[in-house]
């Protein structure tokens, strides 16, 4: 079995310690950091994402796989920077103002990072203006808003309005998601994309960043 496959399989089983050791071994053997990232870590997260979308794995499997990816990724970060490898897109993500819940948002972030995107995590209780300022200052192609509560999802409409007022609506795509959010709601507030699960959100963000 190739070391890439071995890393990917351990990642999918959530074996963080093994992933860390194997990534270090791959680096020590002189394998290129970009190749280790793409062929093992991202490949493993891709597989988990697909299985999550298909309903054959659940939240715990995604969380432990993402934890394992992070352990391996930390070893690669300096090497990737040295070799000038860039992310395939940039997204800012946060749970909207009034809402402190971030499990869903964190899942989406993990999945997006697992797709090779750079993610600026704004945390929770994020005011609309912060999403917009961050998108401008950090040149993000996508703003991603999450909400758990029916009482806070309306803040997403304010994010859309705020983007219009700042004159960046045609430059940035706005994604929405979270427990009470629906496709209908997304259309109603004038956001661009709604996805029902974290893996689909990552796929959608990758597509939006290509445009």
């Amino acid at each position: 079995m190739s070391i890439y496959l071995e890393i990917s399989e351990n990642l999918q089983k959530g074996k963080a310690k093994a992933v860390k050791e194997l990534v270090q071994k791959a680096v020590d053997e002189g394998l290129p950091a970009k190749e280790i990232l793409e062929k093992s870590l991202l490949a493993g997260m891709d597989e988990i994402g697909e299985r999550f979308k298909n309903g054959t794995v659940y939240v715990p499997e995604v969380l432990v796989a993402a934890r394992a990816m992070k352990m391996g990724f930390e070893i690669l970060v300096p090497l990737l920077a040295e070799s000038g490898v860039k992310a395939s897109g940039k997204v800012c993500i946060g749970t909207v103002q009034g809402d402190l819940h971030d499990i869903g948002k964190n899942l989406v972030k993990m999945m997006m990072e697992g797709k090779g995107l750079e993610v600026v995590d704004l945390g929770n209780d994020v005011p609309p203006k912060t999403f917009i300022d961050t998108a401008i200052e950090q040149n993000c192609q996508v703003i991603c808003c999450s909400a758990l509560l029916t009482t806070t999802m309306d803040v997403m409409a304010d994010v859309v309005k705020c983007a219009e007022e700042a004159g960046i609506r045609d430059k940035v795509k706005i994604m929405v998601g979270g427990a009470p959010v629906t496709e209908e709601f997304c259309k109603e507030i004038g956001a661009d994309v709604y996805t029902s699960d974290a893996a689909s959100a990552a796929d959608a963000a990758v597509e939006l960043c290509k445009r």
Binding site: V59, D99, L100, H101, T150, T151
Partner: protein, 372 residues
């Protein structure tokens, strides 16, 4: 006919004079809103819990018959609970608070909702053995024996009251957070997660047994779980079945021995994939069937499991924020469900801020006009 008879007759496919108007309580913010609007007295907006005196007074103002989530039981949680304390006050005024379950929650001024978890204590075997296991033991102090010995004489005779069966997994989730529970499932100590569940479940079984042995009679028995979300369960159905099925069976078999044949379970989210474990091990009543926010459904479960599958809930509570036409449409829909028998309509979760007081009154009044 009493509301007790109405409810239990419906759940046993027997005749009733009309549908009861049943609810599942309110978000605290809604009660504050109604108090500010002058719809209810301010004192009813605080310390209003399922089935307590304030809840029953509010039932009278609105026109409800009863709150389904009204149960009695032993103190079957962590005992004693962790001492709550503020660990840190952050510059924006928010606090990090250690709660009674050992979870560190973020509390921010002006934001009141489901707790947001920052960290947790139950991370490894040492924390389990030293901090949690001692709090998961059965002791007689957990049961108010005098109350339960007198229960049949002193209880409300008009409303159904359930025996609180506790929770097989939901409470564990509360102690660890969703993230922590997920990590524990895949801990290097492979037995740890099962040990936690088994220890807690055995204590809860002993609590249920002690209450039943007092001779107290209940109309139904009731679990709280909340282990599903928008896309289904928070863990794989196979793992859930392997870890939890035996505990449901043991507790439910005990209920059956004492003549309780309606066993309901409160789980938010889309519950379909966990229904086999619940139903095959004695849970036969879905509640609250969150159709409005999550799209959970009762009809497919009835089709799959037959008349043995009962339901309480399934009314899209969001209609109560809209208008009479929306409420009428919802009543028409749930009327069809109720006509199948074995189903009591009830808002599909606690009524949320923005719910219109007059629409709730209207709904309760209209539901009571329905003859089956």
């Amino acid at each position: 006919m009493t509301n007790r008879e109405r409810a239990m007759n419906i759940l046993h496919y027997k005749d009733v004079d009309r549908l009861p108007a049943v609810h599942f309580g309110y978000w605290g913010e809604l009660l504050q809103e109604w108090a500010q609007q002058g719809k209810i007295p301010a004192e009813l907006a605080v310390n209003n819990w399922d089935g307590n005196e304030k809840d029953r007074i509010l039932d009278g103002l609105i026109g409800w018959d009863f709150n389904w989530s009204c149960t009695r039981g032993a103190n079957s949680g962590l005992y004693p609970r962790f001492e709550e304390k503020v660990l840190e006050v952050l510059p924006d005024g928010s606090k990090r608070v250690l709660n009674g379950s050992g979870v560190i929650e973020r509390i921010k001024p002006g934001i009141t909702s489901i707790p947001a978890e920052d960290d947790y204590t139950l991370k490894d075997r040492e924390a389990f053995e030293t901090l949690y296991k001692p709090k998961m033991q059965y002791t007689p102090e957990r049961v108010d024996f005098e109350y339960f010995r007198n229960f049949n004489e002193t209880r409300d005779k008009d409303r159904p009251i359930g025996l609180n069966l506790g929770s097989v997994l939901g409470n564990i989730r509360d102690m660890t957070s969703v993230v922590g529970m997920s990590y524990l499932m895949y801990d290097e100590d492979e037995e740890l997660f099962a040990d936690i569940i088994d220890t807690y479940a055995e204590m809860q079984y002993q609590c249920v047994k002690a209450v039943l042995e007092t001779g107290a009679k209940f109309d139904f028995a009731h679990y709280w779980e909340d282990i599903c979300f928008k896309n289904g369960p928070l863990l794989s159905p196979e793992m859930f079945d392997e870890l939890c099925a035996k505990h449901y069976k043991k507790r439910n078999d005990l209920c059956h021995e004492y003549g309780i044949d309606v066993i309901s379970l409160d789980c938010d989210g889309v519950t379909e994939k966990l229904l086999p474990t619940w139903f095959e091990n004695g849970v036969n009543t879905m509640f609250p069937i969150e159709i409005g926010v999550w799209g959970d459904q009762f009809e497919p479960a009835r089709k799959k499991y037959g008349k043995g599958m009962l339901g309480v809930g399934g009314m899209d509570k969001t209609a109560l924020r809209k208008d009479k036409a929306a409420v009428d449409a919802e009543i028409e829909r749930i009327k069809r469900l109720a006509s199948m028998g074995g189903f009591i309509p009830c808002p599909d979760h606690r009524l949320m801020p923005g719910t219109k007081f007059e629409l709730v009154q209207y709904y309760a009044e209209e539901i009571k006009k329905i003859r089956l």
